[in-house]
């Protein structure tokens, strides 16, 4: 189980964005997203400016546009709601391609698509440049309660345990003559889900007890050692993106 510290979305690299301490990146990403959401939806130019900001950070982080855009497709189910709005919305109707659509609904759909996509791109950039371990260290430095960081640490650790156990159980089923296909695979999986949970728990419990006996008190050593916490200079560097975004949002609000 030599699981690494990365996750599926992490991109190993040594770019300036990768080197920034995690807490700085988390704050920058959250402030950027809040600025985007606060922007009035009619200010189309503002969303273009945000997209340019995202592109600059992506280039600095050496994350290619193809990687970014293909990963951004995961938001599809979440923005499907936007597609329905022009048909469901009330108020004035406009003709678009022979369809009578609600004007308010069209604006609403654009609103969700633009803000949703920018938010997803921002979080993908955070994911591509930050390991899960660093993410938790960052949350801890931002004074997130220890109960939460503890649960998050175990969650990320046990995800690998769960996936590993599920794979072992699947191999065991197949080697005993099960022939799982698309939907029928679900039956075998569902019948074994309780067993999977217990197996993963008992494995996780052993790991936890081993950690306790080696002096674990609820925080990982990387957190109380305090090395690599952000310096004032790093805060300033990372603040450029959210400050720019906030000024764009403020201008858009004033102009609208």
């Amino acid at each position: 189980m030599g699981a690494g510290h990365g996750h599926v979305l992490y991109r190993e690299s040594d770019s300036p964005v990768h080197r920034l301490p995690p807490e700085v990146k988390i704050v920058a990403m959250v402030v950027f997203t809040l600025a985007v959401v606060a922007t009035p939806r009619e200010a189309f130019w503002a969303f273009g400016a945000y997209a340019v900001l995202v592109a600059v950070v992506a280039a600095l982080a050496r994350v290619g546009p193809r990687w970014l855009l293909s990963r951004a497709l995961i938001e599809l189910p979440f923005v499907l709601f936007a597609v329905a709005l022009p048909f469901l919305g009330s108020g004035d109707r406009v003709e678009v391609l022979g369809l009578r659509l609600s004007e308010d609904g069209l604006h609403g759909a654009w609103n969700i698509l633009a803000k949703g996509t920018l938010g997803v791109l921002a979080s993908l950039l955070l994911a591509a440049t930050t390991t899960t371990r660093d993410l938790i260290v960052g949350l801890d430095r931002l004074h997130c309660p220890q109960v939460l960081t503890q649960i998050a640490t175990f969650m990320l650790r046990y995800l690998d345990v769960l996936v590993g156990e599920a794979r072992r159980m699947r191999v065991a089923r197949i080697s005993r003559g099960d022939d799982p296909r698309f939907l029928w695979q679900l039956r075998g999986f569902a019948a074994g889900i309780g067993a999977l949970f217990l197996r993963a728990f008992e494995r996780g419990e052993r790991v936890y007890l081993a950690m306790l006996s080696r002096g674990y008190t609820g925080r990982m050593p990387a957190m109380w050692q305090g090395e690599g916490a952000a310096s004032a200079g790093q805060w300033l560097v990372a603040a450029t993106v959210p400050v720019l975004a906030a000024s764009i949002a403020a201008t858009a609000v004033v102009l609208s």
């Binding site: 469901l88 609904g105 803000k115 938010g119």
Partner: protein
């Protein structure tokens, strides 16, 4: 169920963020007491399990919404309402920060629906049903199933309430339709969730009943040790 950025307007999102923050603070304070050597790894595993099942997303094209399993009832059953709500909240925070599932600005709304409403409804039902139903395996299975099914529907109605308060697009009379679609679809999802929750809880209760939080208060007191005169024979 994850609300992405821009679906609900800013002020309503801010109000729900404040609400979620207050409720989570209460959960942290109460949860700290619950989180002992046995519950800590369980809370982590429950969170990992919920994280994994939430990856399964069923888009519902006709209505333009998507649904997935929530896991609130499983969390309430295995780690209690306080730590349970924290587990679901942690899942949502990590999803929002690095996977872009649900907007960061909408985190308060998502936490209110899935972590708070879902877990609270599930635990209320669990507490009630475990008292009413016979203390058998079937009783436990029915409890887990009903709590999981209904908690998903309750959480989905949380979204309808939030949309009514601050949806960015006025749906007019279609809001009732939205409520109906969300309830219907999530009833179906809830049945799936109920089956998964019931199987998981039953297996855990059979092999390691000490791990099921909801059974703690109902545990029949161990037969009192009979003092043996004259020491151990």
């Amino acid at each position: 169920m994850h609300i992405s950025n821009g679906i609900i307007d800013g002020p309503v999102a801010a109000i729900f963020a404040a609400l979620a923050l207050a409720a989570l603070t209460a959960c942290v304070l109460r949860g700290r007491r619950d989180l002992d050597d046995r519950l800590a790894p369980m809370a982590g595993l429950v969170a990992a399990f919920i994280f994994a099942v939430q990856m399964l997303n069923f888009p519902i094209f006709t209505a333009g919404v998507s649904g997935h399993l929530l896991g609130g009832a499983l969390a309430a059953m295995l780690v209690g309402p306080w730590v349970g709500a924290l587990c679901v909240a942690v899942v949502l925070v990590v999803q929002a920060l690095i996977f872009g599932d649900g907007g960061v600005a909408m985190l308060g709304l998502n936490i209110t629906n899935m972590a708070l409403l879902g877990t609270a409804a599930a635990y209320a039902l669990i507490a009630l049903l475990l008292r009413v139903l016979p203390r058998t395996r079937a009783g436990l299975a029915v409890t887990a199933f009903v709590a999981a099914t209904l908690s998903v529907v309750v959480a989905s109605q949380g979204f309808v309430l939030e949309y009514w308060l601050g949806g960015t697009t006025d749906l007019g009379n279609n809001l009732g339709g939205l409520a109906g679609t969300m309830a219907g679809v999530h009833l179906l999802i809830g049945i799936g969730e109920g089956l998964i929750t019931a199987t998981t809880v039953l297996t855990v209760a059979k092999v390691r009943p000490d791990l099921v939080y909801a059974l703690r208060s109902l545990r029949t007191p161990a037969a009192p040790a009979v003092p043996v005169a004259g020491g151990v024979r």
